[in-house]
């Protein structure tokens, strides 16, 4: 009887130590699932999913707060990859937007600098009362620079540039 109690107590203590050690030393830093979801998102940081950027959306999916079909820039392809990663059913219908880049009509730009602050990836170059321009290679086409522009001089175009005549 005593031997059994002692053995069980010792086993319990040992397991407790082991678990304690694992919890302290082998802890996964950050949210690994969110990291993997984030890696599949297009990183436009556009907020069309209703979350303030791709990372928050990834965390929301990881926590089960959001569906996998909310990302229009990623479209069907991203939704399918998310479904595969998470073992969920692929979403039936996913909004899909064509890739785009922002272009500033430089003759109309008044140099207000409001779009600079709106760009999530610092892809607009400019300074107050100086002309602004978009670094096309870095632009994710999120469209966040459009609403703040007081003179509507920013357009989203297809990445290959405006149609040649």
């Amino acid at each position: 009887m005593i031997a059994a109690v002692v053995t069980l107590a010792a086993l319990g203590a040992l397991a407790g130590l082991g678990l304690g050690f694992a919890a302290a030393r082998l802890r996964v830093q950050g949210n690994a699932v969110a990291d993997r979801i984030d890696a599949l998102l297009p990183q436009t940081q556009c907020g069309q999913c209703g979350y303030p950027g791709c990372r928050p959306y990834a965390e929301a999916i990881a926590d089960g707060r959001a569906g996998i079909d909310l990302c229009p820039p990623g479209g069907e392809a991203t939704a399918r990859e998310l479904a595969r990663l998470l073992g969920r059913e692929p979403a039936a219908k996913v909004p899909d937007t064509a890739p785009a880049v922002a272009v500033i009509d430089e003759t109309a730009c008044i140099g207000c600098a409001l779009c600079l602050a709106a760009c999530p990836v610092d892809a607009i170059v400019g300074a107050p009362r100086r002309m602004h321009t978009v670094i096309a290679g870095e632009c994710t086409g999120c469209g966040l620079c459009l609403p703040p522009c007081p003179v509507d001089c920013i357009d989203l175009v297809s990445p290959k540039g405006p149609e040649r005549s």
């Binding site: 297009p42 940081q45 999530p120 892809a123 040649r164």
Partner: protein, 525 residues
């Protein structure tokens, strides 16, 4: 040349195809007239597009460089004839899908004056390999078998690893195409001379000239040229005619019995292949100081009156060559660059000859297969039997249709050489290679997207960090301000005392202690 007969192996799969070559090999190669207006796409080689170094209005001579090589893998471009640069502008180029790309437009003056900037080299064997590569690069020479990979870049392999064998690829296996066959018949000595230069640049031990056994004239000409050169490193090997024996990996397998590893390159197992046309172009550069401004082009198919090979300048419109071959017949149904197996349809016969143009195939109505009769895959696995890369096309097709691209990569879609054997044998007429091209494109596009996304993520994270830092600094400044104000409020008595002190001193006409008398505190803020 030694008398030992080189052993040949077989590659898996493949097909016997009707050659259809006799029509275009009946007559010798005709020299086509230089074009009146030459359109020269800046991107007619693998790698980065070349950069124009001439402006509109500039007069150039035949062989004068008009565009320099870009950084990295690239090749320069030369004027095919003498004349005036009209413009550098976007034109449609002969590539799948007919994209519009920047081209140099040259109007010929009809005099065809030669540029003398490239000196012939009498003794290339005395040059260092790096110097040979420089000259080859400068002459704009690229692989003329169809892949148009810059030859100089390929010749660098000898510096990285010891090479055993240079294979000259004369196994022109695709039906109708006979430009290499005619080149070997008529310019065998140039082929051997160019190969000697490349052997030297590569420090390779020997050279196998591989020709399919249905080209006896070419084999005889090459054997004679080798005998004449007295070079015992050369051996002309007759390989069994089969499609795609001229594929780089298939040819190496036939000659060595070894496979080039997936994802690897022939130098990894000590081999290098060069097209016979490339060797002749190298010889032209060294013997005659002539850069790559022309190539042999086969004009063939049921849609042309008298099929023939032409030595055509770059930039010659297809229509001019077709006219020189007797023009279209009533049969003519489709214009294809390349052959019936791997070629692609073109929208217009005004497109120019480029370095990759080995053949202009005008298909007759009877040569074409209907494309609207695709039926479901019955999983007969005939495609797997003929695949020379030992892939499972039916599985690739399956996963491509399901857009499961991870699996498509697992099933080694990038080992597919797009030879078209599976297409041809498929009883359901499924255009399998089109599916695989589509899958490759999608996968590459997805990888580019991933790369872009990763960069956007880094920039976004960096911006967040910067904003957080700015906020923290502002907060710190605000806190400092608040603390200072609190300190000031905590010492009202002292302040009051100081005012009393000043008032008292003012009454006694004493100067304030520790400060200069005359308003020196105006700048103090």
């Amino acid at each position: 040349m030694s008398n030992r007969a080189h052993r040949v192996w077989k590659f898996p799969g493949g097909l016997r195809l009707p050659p259809h070559k006799s029509a275009s090999t009946a007559e010798p190669v005709a020299t086509a007239e230089p074009p009146a207006v030459a359109v020269l796409p800046l991107s007619q080689h693998a790698g980065a597009a070349s950069v124009p170094i001439v402006a509109a209005g500039r007069r150039v001579l035949a062989g004068e460089p008009v565009a320099r090589a870009n950084d990295g893998i690239s090749a320069p471009l030369h004027a095919p004839t003498s004349g005036t640069i009209l413009a550098i502008e976007d034109r449609q180029v002969p590539r799948p899908g007919g994209p519009v790309e920047p081209c140099v437009i040259l109007e010929a003056d009809g005099r065809d004056q030669r540029y003398e900037g490239y000196e012939p080299v009498d003794d290339p064997q005395a040059l260092a390999p790096a110097e040979i590569r420089r000259l080859v690069h400068e002459a704009g020479i690229v692989g003329l078998g169809g892949a148009v990979f810059p030859a100089a870049v390929k010749l660098e392999a000898g510096d990285r690893q010891p090479l055993d064998t240079l294979i000259l690829n004369g196994a022109e296996c695709e039906p109708y195409i006979s430009c290499d066959d005619m080149l070997m018949r008529e310019r065998a000595a140039h082929v051997v001379h160019g190969a000697q230069i490349m052997l030297h640049a590569l420090s390779a031990r020997c050279c196998l000239v591989a020709v399919e056994h249905d080209k006896p004239e070419a084999i005889a000409a090459l054997k004679a040229a080798v005998r004449e050169s007295g070079d015992d490193r050369f051996e002309v090997v007759s390989v069994t005619t089969a499609y795609p024996a001229g594929g780089e990996r298939q040819l190496i397998q036939v000659l060595s019995g070894r496979e080039v590893p997936a994802g690897g390159l022939p130098p990894d197992i000590g081999y290098m292949t060069q097209n016979v046309g490339t060797a002749a172009a190298v010889s032209d550069r060294f013997r005659h100081g002539r850069p790559l401004i022309s190539r042999v082009v086969t004009v063939a198919g049921g849609g042309v009156a008298s099929p023939r090979n032409f030595d055509a300048r770059l930039g010659t419109p297809f229509a001019a060559l077709i006219a020189a071959a007797g023009g279209y017949t009533d049969e003519a149904a489709r214009l294809v660059m390349g052959g019936p197996m791997m070629g692609f349809a073109l929208p217009d016969d005004a497109l120019p000859v480029v370095k990759a143009t080995n053949c202009i195939w005008v298909a007759g109505a009877a040569d074409l297969r209907r494309t609207d009769d695709e039926m479901p895959c019955i999983r007969c696995a005939e495609c797997a039997r003929v695949c020379p890369a030992v892939l499972l096309p039916q599985q690739l097709y399956w996963y491509t249709r399901a857009r499961d691209f991870e699996k498509v990569v697992d099933y080694a879609v990038f080992d597919c050489i797009e030879c078209g054997c599976c297409d041809l044998v498929c009883p359901s007429h499924i255009p399998l290679v089109s599916y695989f091209r589509y899958a490759k494109n999608e996968i590459r596009g997805r990888d580019v997207q991933r790369e872009r996304a990763a960069r956007a993520q880094r920039r976004h994270a960096e911006r967040n960090r910067r904003l957080a830092q700015r906020d923290a600094e502002q907060q710190a400044a605000l806190d400092e301000h608040t603390r200072a104000a609190q300190r000031a409020r905590a010492q009202p008595r002292e302040a009051a005392g100081a005012i009393d002190d000043i008032m008292r001193r003012a009454a006694g006409h004493e100067p304030p202690a520790g400060r200069p008398a005359g308003g020196g505190d105006a700048k103090d803020d």
